[in-house]
């Protein structure tokens, strides 16, 4: 199947199929590759790729691998194309609350153009105010954050395309 991987640097198509125990994939325009991917604990995957062993932990809006936290989301391009009428491989990024808290300030408006690193929403938790930033430049196509609302971990607050 084909999915779209959205990251801070851009979006790429990911073609994937499983043959026996091995996954064959093509990310973007790279050469086709193979990997062994096993879920070893809930939300934790052991990925063996080119002889190297990676442990990847899934978190709201990101994957943690080897001491790096990589903001990354995957989606099914057919659903997005059907809904938005856009070309399948266009980049889309959800601003997700990483923890439960309360929205204290919404810094942008629906339809506004934003830059990479620009603050989108301020969420308060544990007496600290935390600004959630857009990892890429784009346009705020959807803004569901409301000042004063409580949010759960993983809740989508805005979408940048």
């Amino acid at each position: 199947m084909t999915l779209v991987v959205d990251m801070a640097g851009g979006s790429l198509p990911l073609e994937l199929r499983k043959e026996g125990e091995t996954w064959t994939f093509r990310l973007g325009s790279d050469e086709e590759g193979t990997a062994e991917i096993e879920e070893v604990e809930p939300g934790v995957y052991s990925v063996i790729l080119d002889g190297r062993s990676y442990e990847a932990r899934i978190e709201p809006g990101a994957v943690r691998v080897g001491g790096h936290r990589i903001e990354l989301q995957v989606s099914d391009p057919r659903r997005r194309a059907a809904r938005s009428g856009r070309r399948a491989v266009e980049g889309r990024f959800s601003v997700v609350s990483p923890m439960p808290g309360k929205v204290v300030r919404v810094l942008v408006a629906q339809g506004e153009a934003v830059e990479a690193g620009q603050g989108i929403v301020v969420v308060e938790a544990m007496k600290m105010q935390n600004e959630l930033k857009s990892p890429r430049a784009g346009c705020v196509t959807s803004l569901s954050a409301r000042e004063g609302a409580t949010v759960a971990a993983g809740e989508v607050l805005a979408v940048i395309e």
């Binding site: 991987v5 994937l16 990310l27 899934i58 099914d76 997005r80 990483p98 938790a125 544990m126 007496k127």
Partner: protein
């Protein structure tokens, strides 16, 4: 001496106070909110009183409920810790009115030093140098604008009733002043109920060096030297040390700053423990910043270097005893460093990380001191700040203390929540930190420096894991749906729709 003391606080500082009370054979009374029923300070206390629902405003900030608990348990004194009610003059006054000893200064001294502008006035009157700034605050930016016309930029706006970095804004140029003033004022209004803002000249790359002082009820004052607290993130201290590397290089500073601190304390008629904070510029000029009328979070580094128990001194002074030593008896030996261990994720913008601590392994061994408020299996609640513990080390020299701290941080293993120990390891490898070339902007500079990107193999592995994760969740959902309903491709699509974006 008191026979029973109530601690109007929670977490690591409540545990800290209970420990000294235990050593002095004084009964301890813990207070707790709903979220803290299973907390460590309740487990360690001799008596415990429930004071309300989890929100601080309904529990740890409820003066009435705390005094009720003190009366009901027969506590003769209340130790307020830090934060919460420790610097609320009305709490100290309420204790005074109830005939319960408040372990700290008088409500008058708290009121005077609690207003940053009043504290500056007292310092100026006592002949202590202050950072140029306005004598009073306001919700109107006119006074602040006048100041910038005279003194130029950069400047810093601060909340009169402020603390903990809230209501502060640094302003580099004229054009930003209006918006910064509005922001600072509204943040201060929300945090402290007082939106008055004042202004100070911003000293470039200052060092934050504070002096610990004590005053007893017999007119004796001593200072216990300095702590350097220049390593701060968003105006909050994260790593403190004693002695200050600057003072170690220029030892006359300790006596000069100590004397200035005592002048300010005496001018305020101060009693018990207090800390006078100074900013020190590149020419080793020091300026009074503010005075904190409570025991500070970072007091362990002073205890480690002087061999004193500051909580014990607080209790003795509150009980009317004179200070058991004179200024010339105070000695400083070796070097101590402390790291504030927070439940936060340094890899994700330091977002707080509440939740259950699944495993906890503590550092130990020579020269390691851990002041912890948590244990394995404890659920870190959402309602309070994320400070879990303070890890402090002592060694014969600063160099050895830093090596010891790195070793201790490596032994501190926590799972179930994220903690910031990894960040301290990075900080303690920075050449400026190792050289003692500290200033209050250093941590923020380090954090805004570009990070090395993840290697492409890791990114590919991440994408693959995320893809397989998404696919497997959809398959599970659609299998369940198909089992209940006849095959329908619409259900599969619906399942994909809800689990993938």
């Amino acid at each position: 001496m008191f026979r029973k003391v109530l601690i109007a606080n929670r977490g690591e500082i409540a545990v800290r106070i209970i420990r000294t009370l235990c050593e002095m054979n004084i009964a301890s009374v813990a207070v707790y909110s709903d979220a803290d029923r299973r907390s460590l300070h309740v487990r360690m206390a001799d008596e415990a009183a429930h004071i309300g629902p989890s929100a601080s405003s309904e529990s740890y900030l409820r003066i009435d409920r705390i005094l009720d608990a003190a009366r009901k348990h027969g506590a003769e004194a209340i130790h307020p810790g830090y934060g919460f009610l420790s610097e609320r003059a009305e709490f100290a006054a309420a204790c005074e009115a109830a005939g319960i000893a408040f372990i700290g200064p008088s409500s008058e001294a708290i009121r005077a030093m609690g207003s940053k502008t009043e504290a500056r006035r007292i310092a100026v009157a006592a002949g202590v140098p202050v950072v140029p700034g306005t004598a009073s605050g306001s919700k109107d930016p006119a006074g602040v604008r006048r100041f910038t016309e005279e003194h130029g930029y950069p400047v810093i706006l601060k909340a009169v009733a402020g603390g903990g970095g809230k209501g502060m804004r640094r302003v580099e140029r004229e054009g930003d002043l209006e918006a910064a003033f509005r922001d600072a004022s509204s943040e201060a209004e929300r945090a402290f109920g007082n939106g008055d803002v004042y202004i100070e000249k911003f000293i470039v790359d200052p060092r934050h060096i504070e002096i610990q002082i004590f005053g007893d009820s017999h007119g004796n004052y001593v200072h216990l030297g300095e702590r350097e607290c220049s390593l701060q993130r968003r105006h909050q201290k994260i790593l403190e040390e004693c002695p200050s590397p600057l003072v170690a290089a220029f030892p006359d500073l300790r006596e000069r700053m100590g004397t200035a601190a005592l002048k300010a304390a005496a001018a305020a008629g101060y009693l018990n423990a207090g800390t006078v904070e100074f900013l020190v510029d590149g020419e080793r000029n020091f300026y009074f910043l503010e005075m904190n009328t409570r025991l500070q979070v970072e007091h362990p580094v002073t205890e480690l270097v002087t061999g004193l128990d500051l909580v014990r001194l607080q209790l003795e002074i509150a009980a009317g005893l004179p200070l058991p030593f004179r200024q010339r008896d105070v000695e400083w030996r070796g070097a101590a460093v402390e790291c504030r261990i927070y439940a936060e994720d340094p890899d994700n913008q330091f977002f707080p990380s509440p939740g259950k601590i699944e495993t906890l392994e503590r550092p130990a061994g020579p020269g390691v001191r851990l002041d912890s408020g948590v244990y394995q299996g404890w659920t870190v609640p959402l309602e309070y700040d994320p400070l879990l513990a303070k890890l402090a080390v002592w060694a014969g020299s600063r160099e050895h203390a830093i090596a010891r701290m790195r070793r201790a941080l490596g032994e501190y293993i926590v799972s179930g929540i994220k903690i910031n120990t990894g960040f301290f390891q990075v900080l303690l490898e920075d050449p400026r930190v190792l050289a003692g070339a500290l200033h209050t902007g250093l941590v923020d500079e380090l954090l805004t420096a570009p990070k090395a990107p993840a290697p492409s193999g890791a990114v590919t592995a991440a994408a693959l894991a995320a893809a397989v994760h998404a696919i497997s969740r959809t398959d599970n959902a659609s299998k369940a749906a198909v089992a209940t309903f006849a095959q329908s491709s619409r259900w599969r699509d619906e399942g994909r729709e809800s689990l993938l974006r």
